[in-house]
Symmetry: C2
Subunit: 78 residues, 2 copies
């Protein structure tokens, strides 16, 4: 089972991507962990290390998929 | 069964997104159609109408998810 981390910030673009894309992954192969970076500031460093530059983003194994554009990671730090 | 259309142009960013993301959708809910816009120029108008501005992109129902950035749709028209 692979872990897919979906990073978001609660923005409309994020909510849509979670509903339509992150929740569409094959549950027999992926466990999707949803991380709200607006609320879990302690995860920002992890996201940055994984290569996330904006949200929403999906990290599968060591690959980052930026999906459309909701907010820059740098804007979530303040 | 929903149709998910994965538009790409054979670029490395596209190939990676197809391998890791498009192929990870739940096969019990989605039939994934892969469209190579570099080879199937006749599909460019469809992609544009669906709201695709760059590839790789995944269209699920009427929503477009631009995934990272490989090439602009306008560059594929030439």
């Amino acid at each position: 089972m692979k872990i897919a981390r979906f990073y978001h910030a609660g923005c409309p673009v994020c909510v849509d991507a979670e509903r339509q894309l992150a929740s569409s992954l094959d549950p027999s192969r992926f466990r999707v962990e949803v991380v709200h970076l607006g609320r879990e500031k302690g995860r920002l460093a992890d996201a940055e290390r994984a290569g996330v530059r904006s949200v929403p983003a999906l990290v599968i194994e060591d690959r980052v998929y930026h999906i459309n554009f909701g907010a820059a990671l740098s804007d979530l730090k303040s």
